[in-house]
Symmetry: C2
Subunit: 256 residues, 2 copies
DNA sequence: ACCCGGGTTCCATAATGTGAAACTTTGGAC
DNA sequence: GTCCAAAGTTTCACATTATGGAACCCGGGT
């Protein structure tokens, strides 16, 4: 019933690696022992093997963190492509549900980076955003990343793009509270008149927000669909993605 | 020359993973069999285990690519921090050698992203660049990333910052050829009068350029040090980093 | 000095990983 | 369509390799 056939040491080592990578924070040896329920000796040996292979390393405090191979991968431009590929099915699905442009973004280098887009099914719709530089606080994606701390609000004036753009920092902070409460963010006519978007977070298994997905289109069509309905839809659909990014949702194990 | 002690299946699996991640391109099953020299059956079983653990996945063509765990990590803002941490010792070392500001950058989302800096030992020197938005074609880091294809030159006018800024595309392309030939890039007074920098690539084990490191300071001091000497120094020092990013350089004492 | 908690090493045991070969699947040639 | 080769998976008998309990080590708190 346990693992399929064959390699159990590899699966155990991978499980350790999963714990280390999924929880953004450094993991201590004993927390790993506890969580997987393996013998200390076994855990120790497996971690040593992973360390030799540069899949994990110990920081100064002796805690385990994702190793050089992960950093190497992260440095490649193609890394985000892979994320996009994982998210693709979900994004396509959202596209079929609401027929509007769907976007995926992450925070990188203190900036919002759009990494993928599924185009609107309508002739009139949001056009390509990937690579375009827009003020994040006027976008649903940006609000989501700000709200969950994936992105830090830069100092200085908040740029005004339209009469609806949020420019007051206090008010904006308050709006972020609201975003966290509801679980999604809206942006109506804030970036460009007639353009609206609704966005929600993509979470890793540990709950950390690692990316955001938005649906955007003409304000009237978005309104017709229903802002709240759209927000809730996004939240629901994106929940599925968390599973993809981490463990299998199904199999429970461990707890000796 | 057996591995230390214990877990050989984990090490073998990790070796497979290493091959898959290090070579940017998707790896085919048989290339992995050939390269590691393991039995087909063993390779197959190990890869299946890695696949179950989401450390690799097979694309449509059936080739192996880094799995969801890698994408997840790459999406985290902290991912580049880890790279910075790996590069730190090298950067510190460069700093002690030439006493100027040392910077680390990668290409992300079509843009150059500075991710770490070791400040100049002088009172007058390049100040903080991290997060500052500068035209990449006027910087040594940018030239390096352009030269090795990590970054694509955007269409449109090349912004002029000083009288020395490269603005002619044909000339710039030619300069990139020169960069590739020498292995490093210089930028004298191109971004700001009196500011100079020399940069060189950080390569993964397969040779792909994943990042760039530069040394920058007042033009006169950089000149005094010697542009070529600095370029060669960078190339030499950064070669060591490739080791860190990939295979083990040798399990022995290493750092004193 | 003492003890305590986190971590590594030893070692006997057998469970687990191993590879040759048989087998299946895929795809190309004719 | 048939035939064949290459690519990959599963089987299976065997022994190498992983396993966990206990002993051991190390640092630091009292």
């Amino acid at each position: 019933m346990a693992a399929q056939t064959g390699s159990q040491s590899v699966e155990r080592a991978s499980a350790l690696l999963g714990l280390i990578v999924e929880s953004g924070a450094p993991r201590t040896f004993s927390s790993l022992v506890d969580e997987l329920g393996l013998a200390k000796s076994t855990t120790s040996r497996l971690l040593q093997a992973l360390e030799r292979s540069r899949l994990v390393y110990r920081d100064r405090a002796g805690a385990f963190r994702p190793g050089a191979l992960f950093s190497l991968h992260a440095a490649r431009p193609s890394a985000l492509h892979d994320l996009a590929e994982l998210a693709r099915p979900t994004m396509e699905h959202l596209s079929t549900l609401c027929r509007e442009t769907v976007n995926l973004a992450v925070a990188r280098g203190g900036q919002l980076v759009e990494i993928d887009q599924v185009d609107s099914r309508y002739l009139i719709g949001a056009t390509n955003w990937v690579g375009v530089d827009v003020p994040a606080h006027c976008t649903a994606l940006g609000k989501v990343l700000y709200a969950y701390g994936a992105l830090a609000l830069p100092p200085g004036q908040l740029e005004r793009r339209t009469a609806h753009s949020p420019v007051d920092r206090a008010q904006f902070e308050h709006a972020l509270v609201e975003v966290r409460r509801r679980g999604w963010a809206g942006s109506l006519d804030e970036l460009e008149l007639g353009l609206a978007a609704v966005g929600a977070p993509v979470r890793a298994v540990d709950g950390t927000v690692v990316a955001a997905v938005s649906v955007s289109g003409p304000t009237n069509r978005i309104n017709d669909f229903g802002i709240t309905r759209l927000g809730d839809l996004l939240v629901t659909e994106l929940r599925g993605l968390s599973g993809l990014l981490g463990h299998q949702p199904g199999r429970k194990g461990g707890s000796a």
